[in-house]
């Protein structure tokens, strides 16, 4: 159980390492640099289709590209990549909305001081909408924890960790991203099929579900409290 919990958190962490920089950058591009036109509307359609893709389809894509085409075994990294495909749209749209909703004065003030557009974005706009972006990232993480279908054929359905082994290249080292790593959500799925082999399958799956729900609950509550605080802080200056 502990191993699955660790895998879940580690996998979501890895996926955020990938999806946050790309998502935030793409959001900046959409809000600031892209001109209204074909390119931007095409990007919007892409994001929309990405966000409505069934997760099993993303899982298959991940299986094909990250496992079959690289010739690798099931590994955490492939799972993390698949999950980051799923969380990219959310992070991108959150960033774009956050930047677009900032009062125009922020930008004007910065330009007047002679800042370039990027300096304005990086030193003025991004810090100002950081809480919103973080809220989006927390929501994305919460979804990542519960993801199972996309991991079925990417992260694998088994795990073997030797906690005294800290050699990063070893397949039993906890931190090696290229080892198979079953997550909590997948563990519930596996327990269903192994019900006849393992007499405690039901209890294990119940317990896994409980931990998973508590984990997700904590994250969505945090996101909610944060967005509440943002709302109070901006005190109705907008809308």
């Amino acid at each position: 159980m502990g191993n699955q919990l660790f895998n879940t958190i580690y996998l979501v962490f890895l996926s955020l390492l990938i999806s946050v920089p790309i998502g935030v950058a793409a959001g900046i591009y959409m809000a600031e640099y892209a001109k209204e036109g074909k390119m931007l509307s095409f990007l919007r359609v892409s994001i929309e289709s990405l966000s409505s893709l069934p997760s099993i389809v993303v899982g298959l894509f991940g299986y094909l590209v990250f496992i079959l085409m690289t010739g690798a075994k099931w590994n955490l990294m492939a799972g993390a990549l698949a999950v980051s495909i799923l969380s990219l749209p959310l992070i991108t749209t959150t960033t774009e909305d956050a930047i677009r909703n900032l009062p125009i004065g922020y930008k004007n003030g910065s330009y007047v001081l002679g800042a370039t557009q990027w300096q304005t974005i990086f030193k003025v706009l991004l810090p100002a909408c950081l809480p919103r972006i973080i809220t989006g990232v927390i929501l994305a993480a919460g979804r990542g924890f519960g993801e199972a279908a996309a991991l079925l054929y990417t992260a694998g359905q088994s795990t073997n960790i030797n906690w005294s082994n800290w050699n990063l290249t070893s397949p039993t080292c906890a931190l090696n991203p290229f080892r198979p790593g079953e997550t909590l959500a997948l563990h519930i799925w596996v327990m269903r099929t192994e019900g006849s082999l393992n007499p405690h399958a039901t209890e294990i799956a119940n317990f896994s579900s409980a931990i998973l729900v508590i984990l997700v609950l904590r994250f969505s509550l945090t996101a909610r409290i944060m967005s509440e605080r943002i709302k109070r802080k901006s005190g109705g200056s907008k809308e």
């Binding site: 591009y29 409505s52 298959l60 990027w118 579900s209 729900v213 969505s220």
Partner: protein, 316 residues
């Protein structure tokens, strides 16, 4: 601006370098990330099309066989054709469970959204909205697990279903519970966005609250509600593991609500790992994935059409 700079040109190379470091490099970087998302979407579509059409190009099955035949016995070894890939049972299973779940969830969702926004906005904002959001965050496997351990035995004991409760009904209920928060949240948003003037005009004519809600608010909010329903439907179509846990996975058309069947996502989830890459079975599963992809694209198209119409009539 850039012209001016190029005229001044060479005056100081430091200036250009400064400009590069503070603007052009980063602008290029974020542009690449934007393009990356487009490429990612395109490549997912492309891979699905390449793999998914293999059934028709490599093994020469017809589209109508895949869609309408129920004979499913594909060959599993690589490069050997000649089996049957009729997926009608899976497609019908998906359509049936999703349709039923929509029938179950929509009335509840609409009622909940109306209650949240119109009848009791205070409790709605403090209690219902957060509850619905939390609902939305619960992982689908957990829904599936609860369906398996609570709902399936319940159906078995109450209705005496033959297959021990694994049934179309169980799958539809699990899906309905899953899409309930999506439809509710989006409908509530749509209702909240109805302009105040509409209310004032309707109340001014002497309507009761219910008349205002049913004759004015709901029609005006319809595009948003419709979007919620479509998004819920597309979530139901894409859901794999929760359905696979309770649908029973038998390869037969269901004879009643209480009999088990199978659906597209459950078939992919269960069989993908056991099929030889590039074999007939494998490619047939890819074709199913392609079908799911096309269905989700179709839903997006529907929403766009709806909104174009909606915004046209909304701006009177």
């Amino acid at each position: 601006m850039s012209n001016l700079e190029s005229i001044k040109g060479g005056t100081s190379q430091k200036n250009t370098l400064h400009k590069f470091r503070n603007e052009y490099f980063w602008r290029g970087l974020v542009t690449v990330c934007g393009i990356l998302i487009i490429l990612l979407t395109l490549s997912i579509g492309l891979f699905l099309i390449v793999k998914g059409t293999g059934t028709f190009t490599k093994y020469h099955h017809t589209l109508s066989e895949f869609l309408f035949s129920s004979e499913w016995s594909p060959m599993d070894s690589a490069n050997e054709g000649g089996g049957k890939v009729g997926s009608a049972i899976y497609i019908f299973g998906s359509l049936l469970t999703c349709g039923l779940s929509l029938l179950i969830a929509t009335p509840f969702s609409l009622a909940a959204a109306i209650f949240m926004v119109e009848i009791s906005p205070n409790a709605g904002e403090k209690l219902f909205q957060p509850a619905v959001e939390i609902f939305m965050g619960i992982p689908s496997v957990v829904y599936g697990w609860i369906g398996l351990t609570v709902l399936v035995p319940f159906i078995k004991n109450t209705f005496g279903a033959r297959m021990g409760g694994f049934s179309v009904l169980a799958a539809s209920i699990v899906l309905a519970v899953m899409i309930f928060p999506t439809i509710t949240a989006l409908s509530a948003d749509a209702i909240r966005n109805v302009p105040k003037e509409y209310y004032q005009a309707a109340y001014g004519m002497g309507s009761t609250r219910w008349q205002v809600i049913s004759r004015v608010v709901l029609p005006v909010a319809f595009p948003g509600i419709f979007t919620g329903i479509i998004l819920g439907l597309s979530r139901a179509f894409g859901e794999a593991l929760a359905v696979a846990m309770v649908i029973g996975k038998t390869r037969a058309f269901p004879s009643s609500l209480l009999s088990p069947t199978n659906n597209l996502t459950a078939a992919i989830a269960a069989d993908m790992g056991n099929s030889a890459d590039g074999g007939e079975h494998n490619l047939a599963l890819w074709t199913m994935a392609l079908l799911l992809f096309l269905i989700s694209m179709f839903f997006i198209f529907l929403i766009h059409v709806m909104f174009r119409k909606g915004s046209g009539s909304g701006e009177v």
